[in-house]
Symmetry: C2
Subunit: 79 residues, 2 copies
């Protein structure tokens, strides 16, 4: 088994109200020095060694992300 | 400015219905070989160089994650 991480983020041109809410709240809460905050989703998949990168790309594009408004990265990590 | 990534995941003992839904759907959709899937949140923060690791830890624990049910990792990456 291998561990695969897929990070899905709103595209840069897409508004991110959740991230903006965090960014606006931090100064109020006493934390300065944080500029932009963007929030996305983080997936961890345990996959058999037989699952190739092409299959992972299809899974990410088709089922984990919305390609119209999101971008994503796929990386294999040590389990 | 530095880029900081915070990944927030449900603790291992916490059920993750969203991840389970993905894991159960994949075989139906023709993708075999994927075992467990867990879903969390991925934050990207642009922070001034004056923001130290202790401050980042407080922000993550207090405002990005729910320490009762979630665990998180903080890492600095190249912007």
């Amino acid at each position: 088994m291998a561990r695969v991480v897929v990070d899905v983020m709103p595209k840069p041109e897409i508004l991110d109200p959740q991230g903006q809410a965090v960014a606006r709240a931090l100064p109020r809460l006493g934390f300065s020095g944080v500029g932009e905050v963007r929030q996305g989703r983080h997936f961890e998949l345990d996959v058999d060694d037989t699952v190739d990168d092409e299959t992972l790309a299809k899974i990410a594009e088709g089922f984990l992300a919305n390609p119209v408004i999101e971008q994503w990265t796929i990386r294999r990590v040590d389990a």
